[in-house]
């Protein structure tokens, strides 16, 4: 049997195998589209799918789809999904043998992972040690560097304060000075001329002192207009590791991805092999178990450096599934059940192009601020190469309780041009009324010449604010909208209907 991409006829045999796995019921400790996504594969394997939900999610697709749904409570809705102890109690009571954490919430929480295993269940994810190592950005970076993989050249003042300036100079320009205690971009300074280095270090130090009460600094190579390229990996924790190609996620707003695609238009075959093998090597060096993603920062001249490793399923995993035919959740479940990957790198093949567009409840023209509202009408797009991963239903409601992502539109095409054309049509066909979404913005974005040319970087949307701006309405459009609204507003029709036809007709003659 082909364990990576089982055919329809091979699934019955796969279900038979799953019947002897150490778990026969899987609890999904998540919500929204990812809970639906995980439940589909769990149920397809013939396993029982259980989901937990907060009252705010009662009417959602995951709760309807699950074989069993158990309500959990918390001070806030998010708090309920972060309450590991409660979720473990529910899982045990429901007879779950394994917990799938999805992404976000408890997915990269070492303590939760340990508690699940201590309770005698399988955690569908990596080992606690792997979560711990990759969760600490500095430790992860140092580990990856020691293992011989590329990290951005840097100098940490704490390592030896006396030589900090000299070591920073060796990092080379352009470089970025950051407060060690910092975050959110505060106190960061870009140095392009090394003769200004000492002066800039002093300024950075005084800013760090002012913002964080801590003047310690570190320097790293600054990548101008970087791209975000990440590599999907799969490991079985028993020596088996493969990569499942890259995804490019350079189109971002507020450091959050909006559009992801694979293959990356920035890579040629040689560079693709190099970056994918680097990711597989990093996963191999820690004996990685589970699906994971190694993220890189990719410079305009082709240099790339390790950024971080996410030890979970990623929001944008579907594009990888679309070009390879691999069900990544199936692979997570197999590995958690103790199976070996049972394949080599050569078994992983890709074909075509896939793009994911995140449908957010937000107003791009108002600084991408979130919107809320009822979902009065929802017609998901259909057609060849169109996949709609969503947790919301017609009649549901978008609230400010959770992340504003409503759905993911995933498009597959024979090549990038076909995928973009299909994406535009699918966005146009997406009808969602009651809550403002970013679909019109996404259409402007994928029609932009730079996007079509594949020439984007993580600062692309900041550099092109006109894409987010609300375009001026054409007169014809405005007329149609006012006509539709007028005819749909009861008080207006009532007033108009109160005047007899004949009188109305005469009225217009008099004018």
């Amino acid at each position: 049997m082909n364990v990576l991409t089982p055919t329809e006829t091979e699934w019955p045999a796969l279900r038979e195998r799953a019947a002897s796995w150490p778990f026969q019921a899987v609890l999904v400790a998540n919500r929204g589209e990812i809970a639906v996504r995980v439940l589909r594969t769990v149920q397809r394997l013939g396993l029982k799918g259980i989901v937990v939900y907060h009252a705010a999610d009662r009417g959602t697709a995951a709760v309807r789809l699950a074989d069993e749904a158990v309500e959990i409570t918390g001070e806030t809705p998010v708090g309920a999904y972060l309450d590991g102890a409660q979720i473990i109690r529910v899982a045990q009571a429901a007879g779950a043998g394994a917990i799938h954490p999805g992404y976000g919430f408890l997915s990269e929480n070492k303590g939760f992972c340990e508690a699940v295993e201590a309770a005698g269940m399988r955690f569908i994810g990596p080992t606690p040690e792997q979560i711990d190592l990759m969760g600490d950005k500095v430790r992860a970076r140092n580990f990856v560097e020691k293992a011989g993989f590329p990290v951005a050249p840097s100098a940490i003042e704490d390592d030896d304060p006396k030589t900090f300036v000299e070591r920073s100079r060796q990092v080379g320009a352009p470089l970025l000075i950051k407060p060690s205690a910092g975050g959110g971009g505060k106190g960061m300074r870009i140095v392009r001329d090394l003769s200004l280095l000492e002066q800039e270090i002093e300024r950075g130090r005084s800013e760090g002192q002012r913002y964080f009460g801590d003047g310690r600094l570190y320097c790293e190579r600054y990548i101008e207009n970087p791209r975000h390229i990440e590599v999907q990996v799969l490991g079985d924790g028993q020596g088996g590791v493969v990569h499942v190609f890259e995804r490019e996620c350079s189109v971002q707003r507020r450091f959050q991805k909006i559009v992801e695609e694979t293959p990356s238009p920035a890579l040629d075959d040689a560079k693709r092999r190099e970056i994918c093998e680097t990711a597989a090597g990093i996963a191999r060096s820690i004996g990685y178990r589970n699906a994971g993603t190694v993220e890189f920062i990719f410079g305009q001249s082709g240099e790339f450096y390790f950024l971080e490793m996410n030890t979970r399923l990623q929001v944008e995993h579907p594009v990888t599934e679309e070009i390879t035919g691999i069900d990544l959740v199936l692979q997570q479940l197999r590995v958690a059940a103790g199976e070996k990957l049972g394949c080599t790198q050569d078994d992983v093949k890709a074909q075509g192009h896939s793009i994911e567009l995140r449908i957010y409840a937000e107003d791009a023209a108002r600084g991408y601020t979130p919107t809320t509202g009822p979902i009065l009408v929802l017609h998901p797009p259909q057609g060849e190469g169109v996949r709609w991963d969503s947790g919301v239903l017609h009649g549901g409601e978008v609230t400010s309780a959770f992340d504003p992502m409503i759905a993911k539109l995933i498009i597959r095409g024979a090549d990038r041009a076909e995928a973009i054309a299909r994406a535009d049509k699918a966005l146009k066909d997406t009808v969602l009324l009651g809550c403002k979404t970013n679909t019109a913005f996404l259409r402007r974005l994928i029609a932009h010449p730079a996007f079509i040319a594949g020439d984007v970087h993580t600062g692309f949307l900041d550099a092109n604010p006109q894409i987010a701006a609300e375009p001026v309405l054409a007169t014809e459009t405005l007329q149609a909208l006012l006509a539709a609204a007028s005819l749909s507003t009861r008080p207006m029709r009532d007033v108009a209907d109160a005047v007899p036809d004949m009188h109305a007709a005469m009225g217009s003659w008099r004018n």
């Binding site: 601020t369 979130p370 009065l376 679909t439 007329q479 149609a480 909208l481 007028s486 008080p491 007033v495």
Partner: protein
């Protein structure tokens, strides 16, 4: 009779009357014969003069949502009385509305407090960012609508100031 819809930040005045066969839309000096026929699954055909366009329409209260040519729009019907009050009173500054949905982190004032322009009234949280809401003018707090921890939608009334004499 005059009606109005708010679309984005703009208010558009309209009038509607019967025509011999359906309705007539009045926009300024323009008169356009219009009609709307709804089919199955909520899709509808809108006629404007010689033009026919497919639309999907949903309403909730005073809001009308329209999907037209691949894009969704929201229009809000402006009640004549509200418009009258707004025109007469010009009291927009008395009502501090939420700039985006979120939750209350802290409230610094209570009804009856005298505040000066720029003074912090409350701190809200949205998108994991805190935003401070400050007094738009000197005045007295008439009402504080939400308590710490409560959530609200965009344009919810957060704080009202006593009207100025």
């Amino acid at each position: 009779m005059h009606h109005a819809f708010k679309l984005g930040d703009d208010v558009h005045n309209v009038e509607l009357s019967r025509s011999a066969t359906a309705y007539r839309l009045h926009l300024g000096e323009q008169r356009i014969d219009i009609d709307l026929r709804t089919g199955a699954d909520g899709r509808a055909w809108l006629t404007l003069g010689e033009r026919h366009v497919e639309v999907v329409i949903a309403t909730r209260g005073d809001e009308v949502f329209v999907h037209l040519d691949g894009e969704a729009y929201a229009l809000r019907y402006q009640h004549p009385l509200d418009r009258l009050a707004a025109a007469a009173g010009g009291n927009a500054e008395d009502r501090i509305l939420a700039p985006m949905p979120g939750s209350i982190v802290s409230v610094a004032v209570k009804a009856g407090d005298a505040v000066s322009k720029g003074q912090t009234l409350l701190v809200m949280e949205s998108m994991k960012m805190e935003t401070t809401i400050a007094a738009p003018r000197d005045g007295v707090i008439a009402e504080v609508t939400y308590e710490m921890g409560q959530t609200f939608d965009r344009d919810a009334l957060l704080i009202a100031l006593e009207a100025q004499k």
